[in-house]
Symmetry: C2
Subunit: 270 residues, 2 copies
């Protein structure tokens, strides 16, 4: 089953996607829901990030091929992305002025469906509603130079998700591909994850109580490339669909001159 | 002016605090607002976290006395706390099972009042609505062992704020004291900050667009002590008021046995 969030004629709602049409639904997205209108063509709606989370988590270094010289951690290395990072399918993502290198990171994203605190690995998948595609966009030079990854992972729009949530896939054996301007630049199977979805949800639920709608970016594979303005990135999760976003130069660079130079970002473009 | 969020007779709203009474207000908290009812005694309401932010930021290592062996950064080292960390004045804060050391961190918290993107240091304070007290509760052993501070700073309730927002204080010269079970364990002046509120807001606004209601924990001074169940922490910001929270042992420890030992938190209490 595919659940999308969409805008049509100025109204935002949820709907169930079947083929090329979408049927509005009402009720509890994660519980009792029912059709609330006629199916309309998918092409007549604007798809939005399929859920508005309360908490966005992401796992660092979760595929062997992404480790580089790093050593695998014995646990999921989780970090928080602010809600400002949320972005929709097809949104143009701004590459922030002052950042020298922006990378894509194609990922599978787990969507929590039921409140869970301290669930075991064996039970954890019962609390996952479904999966979507995500791009854990990264300001790599900022990420490397800062103690924490607020700038590196937390810029506005740095977490697009979509195009919808698919409830029927196997998170332990799903192909994930990322295309940059149509060229496949990343391919992996979610079975390669160092910490599986079940292990990661269980681990996170020992630290916080996860709520319906919370999401977890499950990590990227390989070594992502740097983006340039005009690039288009597609994250394609088998059985889910394709999340597509373009990247643009910052239309609003610094409008003023710094008076305290050491507060200036490390590399401001000339 | 003091603005509080409160619950009374099952209804949540905002109010203006004067002396021992609070007058409900309606309209835009950060813009046009007006009284919407009669003043009632403060003692008749439950004070809540005075704002529900979209984004919670915090500054690491922002007082010389907190640096220890660390070197001051040339910029505010910001990190994100999830909305799950929000807690109210007087809430009992749970010390998570599996964490060996929980510390208080008494801090001044800036509340953004107007959307701001790329504001200069000189303009930044025009975008701050006011200030409240905060406790950037920290799971110190988790913080030290993890790459990122999701566990170290992001547990449920690890960011209580309150008791209200005071709009009329000078963030460059305000005394801040923290008391542990009545004993003063921290005292500093906000003028000691390595990065001032103005510098931090300006810097953050170069990375993200800050929205009304977003908050920034401005960092702690000195070397905080470890807490034990039953402890009471008071954060007292001159001209604002006192945020008071007690700490309790986790009433709901792990209900199941791990099947993957390396996923077990580093130190589970015996």
């Amino acid at each position: 089953m595919r659940i999308a969030r969409f805008e049509r004629n100025g109204t935002v709602g949820y709907g169930q996607v079947e083929g090329d049409s979408i049927t509005p639904i009402e009720g509890d997205l994660f519980g009792e829901r029912r059709p609330s209108g006629q199916a309309v063509p998918l092409s007549s709606v604007k798809l939005l990030a399929p859920v508005v989370p309360r908490l966005i988590l992401a796992v660092a270094l979760n595929y062997p091929s992404h480790l580089g010289t790093a050593v695998a951690s014995p646990r999921p290395e989780l970090f928080v992305k602010g809600l400002n990072t949320l972005a929709n399918p097809d949104d143009q993502i701004v590459m922030p002025a002052g950042c020298a290198r922006v990378d894509y990171e194609g990922e599978m994203v787990a969507v929590i469906g039921r409140r869970c605190s301290r669930v075991s690995v064996e039970e954890a998948l019962n609390y996952v509603f479904g999966y979507t595609c995500g791009n854990d966009v990264s300001a790599r030079d900022w990420q490397r130079g800062d103690m924490q990854w607020f700038r590196g992972k937390g810029c506005d729009q740095f977490g697009p998700i979509g195009p919808w949530i698919e409830t029927g896939i196997d998170p332990t054996n799903t192909w994930l591909a990322t295309r940059l301007n149509g060229e496949e630049v990343q391919r992996c199977n979610t079975g390669e994850m160092i910490n599986s979805v079940a292990e990661t949800v269980s681990f996170a639920s020992r630290v916080v109580a996860l709520e319906p709608g919370d999401i977890i970016f499950m990590g990227t594979s390989g070594q992502p490339r740097a983006l340039k303005p005009g690039d288009v990135v597609e994250v394609d999760v088998e059985g889910v669909g394709v999340l597509r976003n373009s990247f643009i130069a910052d239309p609003n660079p610094m409008p003023w001159v710094d008076t305290r130079p050491d507060l200036r970002p490390a590399r401001v473009p000339a």
